[in-house]
Every structure is written in structure tokens, then in C-alpha cells.
């Protein structure tokens, strides 16, 4: 229903110039090493228009504190919780997983590729893998009991809930009884996969239905189409 702008067919890089000029975004500086949306679409579950819409979101998040075309941890937490002071074990872990280059910032490529796993169309295998890495805090290739306890305690604290240590130990005992089929005190990837297959709701937070509607929530006023050279 937006009739305010004409549809313009431009290449992705031209789009930035168009936006900068036309919409007077006060000469924002962009990290010019933005990957071609087609490459990102090819590597992910996103369509090209979804990548372009995602870029709109990325721009908003990455300019919140420092306008450098990159998302730092503070901007990430601000976007997630609307509060950059909140301490969150999980948000830190998620950020670290997104940060493939391990340079404490997320560029658009990292952002899009990580979020791709959360797309409703992404493969369950990718979601299983991501969740496993998320919970494997020490990155040892298996989830230790102490890691599980740490996460349970952190979650309960976030919810303002207090359960006695006995109760928590009990819950973890039961979880390991079911999950740790090799009885070695750890949950490896295979065991995790079986657990998830028995309890698919464990992957619930690995899917963001919003990603399906991203082109309507974050419209980018460019139709991706090739401009034919005459």
C-alpha cells in the first residue's frame, strides 16, 4: 500500500547511493565491503529481496551506537533487549556464534548468514547444529553437565525464579538420564540430535517466523532486477 516511492530497479551498490542522496541520511558512512546480496542469498535460506530487507534491519541496528556499518555487542544487546546494560549469558554466546571472524563485531555477511539458520525454511539439521554449538559453551564438542547447570541457573535467574539446588540437580539428572545414552556424563552431537528428534520443541527458539515477513516489515525500495546493458 505504499505509493510514496516509485519502484526503481538498481544494482545493490547503487541502492546505497540512492538512499544516501534521495533520503538524506546525513552522509552516513558505510562499510563498503558489503557482499553482493546474490552471494548471500545463494549461501543462505533467504531470497535476494529478503537479503535486501535484512540489510535495512542491519543498518538500523548497526548505527545505534557507532555508525560504522558493523554491529558491536552493545548494539546487539540494545536491539535484542532494547537495553544495552542487560547482562545476558546467552546473548553473549549468540553474539560469539554469529561472530565467525572473531573480531567482536558483526558485519552484514555474518549477520545474514547466522540469521539464515533461524529462517523457517532453513534445514532442521542446521538448527540442530547451531543449538548444539550454542549450548557447548566451552566449545569442546560436547555439552557438559556443568554447562547445563550454568544455563539452567542463568535462565531461572533471568525469569526471577528461584529453585533449590536439589530441584535443579534433579532436573539435570533426569535430563542426562534421557539424553546421555552413552553414559559418559556428556551430551555429544549424536545424543543431542536424538534428544531433539524426541523433543522437537527444544528447537523452538531456533526459528524466527518474522524472517518470512521481513520484506514487509523492512521494505527496501528496490526491486532486484538486472539492468540490461543496451
Amino acid at each position: 500500500m505504499w505509493q510514496c516511492l516509485d519502484h526503481v530497479s538498481l544494482g545493490f551498490h547503487h541502492m546505497l547511493d540512492f538512499l544516501l542522496g534521495c533520503c538524506q541520511t546525513k552522509g552516513r558512512k558505510y562499510s563498503r565491503d558489503i557482499e553482493d546480496p546474490e552471494t548471500i542469498a545463494h549461501d543462505t535460506s533467504f531470497s535476494v529481496s529478503e537479503v535486501e530487507a535484512l540489510y535495512e534491519l542491519f543498518k538500523k541496528i548497526s548505527s545505534a551506537v557507532i555508525d560504522d556499518g558493523l554491529i558491536n555487542k552493545e548494539e546487539f544487546k540494545l536491539a535484542l533487549f532494547k537495553n544495552n546494560k542487560k547482562e545476558s549469558l546467552f546473548a553473549d554466546r549468540v553474539f560469539d556464534l554469529f561472530d565467525i571472524k572473531h573480531n567482536n563485531v558483526l558485519d552484514f555477511g555474518e549477520f545474514a548468514r547466522a540469521l539464515s539458520v533461524f529462517h523457517p525454511n532453513a534445514s532442521v539439521e542446521d538448527k540442530i547444529e547451531f543449538a548444539f554449538q550454542l549450548y557447548d559453551f566451552k566449545q569442546q564438542g560436547f555439552i557438559e553437565r556443568s554447562e547445563v547447570k550454568r544455563m539452567v541457573v542463568a535462565t531461572l535467574a533471568e525469569a526471577g525464579m528461584n529453585l533449590s539446588d536439589d530441584v535443579i540437580e534433579n532436573i539435570i539428572d533426569k535430563t542426562f538420564e534421557e539424553a546421555d545414552t552413552k553414559h559418559d556424563g556428556k551430551i555429544d552431537k549424536e545424543e543431542w540430535r536424538s534428544l531433539v528428534q524426541r523433543h522437537p520443541s527444544l528447537l523452538k527458539n531456533m526459528t524466527l517466523p518474522y524472517l518470512k515477513d521481513i520484506t514487509t516489515s523492512f521494505p527496501s525500495f528496490v526491486f532486484h532486477s538486472r539492468v540490461e546493458d543496451s
Binding site: 505504499w2 510514496c4 516511492l5 533520503c23 538524506q24 541520511t25 534491519l57 538500523k60 541496528i61 536491539a79 535484542l80 533487549f81 532494547k82 545476558s88 549469558l89 546467552f90 546473548a91 549468540v94 540469521l115 533461524f118 550454542l134 549450548y135 547445563v148 544455563m151 539452567v152 542463568a154 535462565t155 531461572l156 533471568e158 525469569a159 532436573i171 539435570i172 533426569k174 535430563t175 534421557e178 534428544l195 523433543h199 520443541s201 527444544l202 528447537l203 523452538k204 527458539n205 524466527l208 518474522y210 521481513i214 516489515s217 521494505p219 525500495f221
Partner: protein, 101 residues
Amino acid sequence: MNAFQIISMSPGLDLSGLFQKHKMKLQGDKMGRKGYLSLSAEIFEVASSLHMVELRKLDGDTLEYHKFEKNLSTGLKDIVWLTEVNIAKSIDKEKQQMQSL
């Protein structure tokens, strides 16, 4: 209850917050007919000079909410392009015009 079920409920693992940009919850300061009126407002930037605001009633009396909405759009009438009510009215008007052709 499975430990991972508990963990998966953590808000830190809920990335949907990334998409709820500019979402606000507003609450009235006076007790209404059915408690305090509360609503959510979500702002979408369609273009740098055009924003869309989606208002939703969360709690309180519906009539009071409609009154609030009306006051808001009247107050902002110089900068508001369209509201749902206007759109509905203009659709009706067009229908009538077409019928009379």
C-alpha cells in the same frame, strides 16, 4: 521437565527482539471503565520522511481506546496521511461512486 526446555525459554535466546524495533507499550495514568488503558505502538520506517504506526489495544475498555485513537489522529491531523478509518471511508466512497456510474 527437561533442562533444555527450561533453557530454551530464556529471553536471551529469543532473537525475535531484533525485529521488534521501536515497539512501545503505553499505559494510561487514570483508571478507566475496565482498568488502565494500555496499548502497544509499533513504528515502522517506510521512508525517512514517512513512518507507519501500528496501534493495538492491550488492555482496558475498547470504547476508551477508540476515543484515544480518535484524539490522537485529530491531534496529529496535520502530519497523518491516512488512518484505517479514513481508508475504510475512502474505499466506501469509491464504491458508491462506481455504483452510480
